[in-house]
Symmetry: C2
Subunit: 340 residues, 2 copies
């Protein structure tokens, strides 16, 4: 049987476990050019919250009753494709399920001797590539510049900051616990990391950004944006990669409209704001993976994985992303990793 | 004597004639490498409103008691520089005054046989160069794309739209009177122009932008922004060049905060917003002037000048910029043009 987690109902605001439902469907025998897979690792990421709304953004929403979307690392069980043998490991976008049948042409083959296969949904997968293409194409980091990145211990944020260090930036992280801040500075080599739950968060941030901010990597919004925006220097760049603090917001914001203030700063400071999605830079994927692999091998980029066992625990783990309880790249271990 | 208009007091909100004062000072004899000039044409532009506030933006504010800032076209009366002879015409940044003494090295020599000298503060000066560098460096227009530009009959807007036509765009202007709209479509060759004072402005705009908007040239803000922003396509570009509708606003905007909505669109539509000032692209000035000159000679770019006689009328004319009563590039004719 193939266990799946489907979208049971659309959340209004903060999602709850009731919005998800575990069902069982029979496995489907692969047809020509298809493979049957066993999911090993499932990636949980903040963007999935957007897919739960009935709003078209850059991707179609998940239908009510549809399998939740996700990237995964899987093993081929049965193949009717010349591209894969049973036993091969692959990265795929199969969603929250255990035994999917997939088109072979959409799969990326993984080699356990090159890197742990779990990294294919982390530092050597979508989050890592996101960090790379956003830094290279939008942030344009130069030696001596100050880079601020929120969600700094997260899968994208930690990689962004370490790429900033490789490019010679003064790197300041923002995170939600002292433990995360310590990890970011001690293990990931950021110059500073500020806890946004501290009362004097804003003044701490201003102190460690004494020369202003040249790059603000936006993956949070809210408080993190509010504290960083006034510190932006002339010609600062702001890759807009995510807005996790706002994903569960419903209705209007009741503070006065700050749009005119934003635009005045954009004009007078000549700021660059640019939204992007990793798939916009598909042609740079191989370059990104090559660079990231070398940096990981050379320990210039450190990554942290947070494994949670069992598909049934995916909804609860996913909700933790928005409560800040997750620490590191969040991965559901659906079945044991035979490559280890 | 040298008549000057100085900033008498800082406006709070909409400026008034009382914020300006005409004074007379003796002319100053030029020293080594200086020239004494007679102002012929004075450029009045919306950005000057920002200089009246006691707020540092990209330029220092005008001091209370200081001469109002402006670009001008002048004739050299007396020269102690080897670069200029008496009788030469120059473009300079001498401000609202009649007989300034200026450093020769900051002046651009003008040749009346090449183009009317008044264009050196218009289509072949700061407004034209602004349009060119913003289009080439930020808007990145491609054939078949839809470009929307506000203040479409203004010095910058009209040039932006005509450059859009040269690049093969579907060009939609926005202006404040039917007369301006007719000028923009009939003389400047825009495909459409919508009057923002029409009750059904927003739906008219949506109709003529049936394929959405790929480039929104922001020089207005307010209503123009509000109507255009929802029409932006994925990957739309938004050069932020001015915000004339907001320059006189005081205090907070009392509608709910739209910043989170803006950022959500920036992310999901992968928008590019970038503020700029013409001086950021100083190295492209010659290229811009060369291109613009050819386009003007070939009648691919038409320009309109609104001459008002007498330095004493500068304050009133300037205020008209914010009331929408001006039509075309606003120029104060301080003294007769001897080149005509």
């Amino acid at each position: 049987m193939n266990r799946q987690i489907i979208l049971a109902s659309r959340p209004n605001g903060f999602p709850a476990e009731e919005n998800f439902k575990m069902i069982e469907r029979p496995e489907r025998k692969p047809e020509h050019d298809e493979v049957l897979c066993q999911t090993i690792y499932l990636s949980l990421d903040p963007y999935m919250r957007g897919r739960m709304n009935d709003v078209k953004s850059y991707a179609e929403p998940v239908k009510v009753g549809g399998v939740m979307t996700a990237g995964a690392v899987s093993q081929v069980i049965e193949s009717r494709s010349s591209l894969f043998q049973p036993g091969d490991f692959v990265e795929c976008r199969s969603g929250w399920q255990e035994r999917p049948t997939l088109e072979a042409k959409n799969l990326r083959k993984l080699y356990p001797d090159q890197a742990p296969i779990s990294t294919a949904i982390g530092v050597l997968g979508m989050p890592g590539i996101t960090a790379y293409v956003g830094m290279v194409n939008i942030a344009d980091p130069r030696p001596g510049e100050t880079l601020v990145v929120g969600a700094a211990s997260g899968a994208v944020g930690a990689t962004v900051g370490q790429i900033g260090k490789i490019f010679g930036c003064h790197v300041v992280g923002i995170a939600g616990t002292d433990e995360k801040c310590s990890y970011v500075t001690e293990t990931c080599n950021f110059d500073e990391c500020i806890n946004y739950n501290d009362d004097d968060f804003q003044s701490q941030l201003a102190t460690v950004c004494s020369k202003g901010v040249d790059i603000y990597w936006e993956n949070v919004g809210g408080k993190t944006f509010d504290a960083t925006f006034p510190l932006l220097n002339d010609f600062a760049r702001m890759p807009v990669c995510g807005l996790i603090s706002t994903y569960n917001k419903v209705g209007l914001f009741d503070n006065p409209d700050r749009l005119p203030v934003l635009f005045r700063s954009v004009l007078t400071k000549r700021l660059l704001l640019r939204g992007f999605i990793v798939f916009d830079f598909e042609d740079q994927k191989q370059e990104a993976l090559q660079k990231l692999s070398v940096w990981v091998k050379d320990s210039k980029i450190i990554y942290k994985e947070n494994f949670i066992d069992g598909l049934e625990n995916a909804p609860g783990a996913f909700l933790g992303l928005f409560r800040g309880t997750n620490f590191g790249k969040l991965i559901i271990r659906v079945s044991p990793d035979p490559s280890l």
